[in-house]
Amino acid sequence: MSSRQAPAVIYRHTWLDTFAAWLLALLWILPLAYAFWTAFHPSEYATRFDLGAPWTLQNFRHAWDAAPFARYFLNTTLLVAMILAAQLVLSTLAAFAFARYQFRGKNIAFALVLVQLMIMPDILLVENYQTMARLGLVDTLFAIGLPYFASAFAIFLLRQTFMGIPKELDEAARVEGASTLQILWRVYVPLARPVYTAFALVSVSFHWNNFLWPLIITNSVESRPLTVGLQVFSSVEQGVDWSTITAATLMTSAPLLVGFILFQRQFVQSFMRAGIK
């Protein structure tokens, strides 16, 4: 313990480190800080900074009225919840099979799953669009979510976790007369809870922000999520009103931003654990 303190002094960061780190941090949040400034001040202050400028919520009202944001919020929330629920159920079942069963073709099946880590549905746009057209699902929330229901990443993550759970636990449960699904539900799922949380955070933020596939597959207000709605809204060329756009931008990001500030530690740790999206 005593040896730890003396040399540590030698490698202490300098004031220069602190200064540079802060400078970069301020640069990094500059866009967000600007958005806050503009969104809460009258539009004549959008392009000039004045400490005496009055505060207002008018821009949010304008933005809210300019596009059906209530509908977009509802769509995005439903979409994210639907995808997450499907991913959790399907990948739990698949991961359990990979972790606890020996069967013919297991390695091939697992390789088939891993392919999706690299070739995600957002690259295969044209073909997936045609599939949705054949199924008559174009312009539905279901079509936005369906290609993401089976998540290779979730399967991989849960398989790793399940393999780390001692087999004695489920043998004990089996002696008690529990069925396979009961064991999965009562033993494996509760023990993997931190991994579920981590995956949920990654999945929710990914799908809340996802843009290209929803843009292609939707063409009406009824099915558009926030990201697509925001793009349609802000690309209307009738004299750009920065105050309204920043207000809309903040509204769109608000749930994630608030969630991030509240759960900062968990967020960062779960991204560490969860890696790729």
Partner: protein, 299 residues
């Protein structure tokens, strides 16, 4: 072991159970990943069906028109340039950020949060803000350069700077995400290494170069693979900032694919471009799988 359950008679039944558990996920994976990948390859050898005229076999004609398409080559060049700029810049910054917030600097929590925030924000939303930064005449960048007495410049409007402007936004968005992995890795390094190096009188730079950097290698490889994939997937900001312009100066491969497939509805040609993208991404995957240490995947 309660081996009786896995007797010969029972094992067939267990196999069926396992496949039943896998079935829903596998069906969806095949339907939206494997089948579309194969179908794309097949479609790329057919013509685009138009009205009553069905698709006909055209061999490598789509690839031929790809080779002759100047916009495609521009997209390839742009994408390579974009990758060559974003990958080292975002990884370098991520490493620097991680080293900083791993130390006990004042306000560390705030600094860490500031670096990571762009990661959680929707790209499509923050691109609106960057659009204002780059706006000619009264945008933030113009106000700064104007105050310094520099001439006015249309950052997104001139072909020479538009791609650079797009790249900057991508680096800003990605660096904080990669920082998290470096931070996690730095925190697992044994602190006694640092003490030993300090006792030996090694400089801080020497310690970083000879001890920390080699030990961070697996993380760097993991981050690198992700950075390469992202360089070919990231297009959201192009939609808001430039729409591929001016004069295709910011058209990336995936954006070109979107235009061909969903603006011009030339699905056969779009299939050929998709094949190129899939080949690029699979090469990254194979590179990771065969060339690099397997434990890199998930520590």
């Amino acid at each position: 072991m309660s081996a009786s359950s896995s007797s010969i008679a029972g094992s067939g039944q267990r196999s069926i159970h396992a496949w039943l558990l896998l079935l829903p996920a596998l069906v969806l994976l095949v339907a939206f990943t494997h089948w579309p990948a194969v179908a794309t390859l097949i479609d790329s050898f057919y013509s685009t069906p138009k009205g009553a005229r069905p698709a006909v076999w055209v061999g490598v004609e789509n690839y031929q028109s790809m080779v002759d398409d100047p916009v495609f080559w521009q997209a390839v060049r742009n994408n390579l340039w974009f990758a060559a700029a974003t990958i080292p810049a975002s990884i370098g910054l991520a490493l620097l950020m991680a080293v900083w917030v791993n130390e006990r600097i004042a306000g560390r929590t705030f600094v860490r949060m500031a670096y990571f925030t762009p990661t959680v924000l929707p790209m499509i939303a923050v691109a609106n803000i960057w659009l204002f930064f780059y706006t000619p005449q009264y945008g933030l960048l113009e106000q700064v350069t104007g105050a310094l007495g520099l001439p006015s410049h249309n950052w997104l409007g001139s072909p020479s700077t538009a791609l650079g402007a797009i790249t900057l936004v991508a680096v800003w968005k990605e660096a904080g995400f990669f920082m998290i992995f470096y931070l996690a890795a730095l925190q697992t390094l044994n602190p006694s290494l640092k003490e030993a190096a300090a006792i030996e009188g090694a400089s801080r730079w020497y310690f970083f170069r000879r001890v920390q950097w080699p030990l961070l290698m697996p993380t760097t490889v993991f981050v690198l693979v992700n950075a390469v994939i992202n360089a070919f997937r990231l297009v959201d900001h192009v939609f808001i900032l430039t729409r591929g312009g001016p004069d295709n100066a910011t058209t990336l491969l995936l954006y070109h694919l979107y235009e061909v497939g969903f603006k011009f509805w030339d699905t056969a040609y779009a299939a050929a471009i998709t094949v190129v993208l899939v080949v690029v991404l699979s090469s990254v995957a194979l590179f990771q799988f065969f060339v690099l240490d397997k434990k890199v995947h998930y520590q």
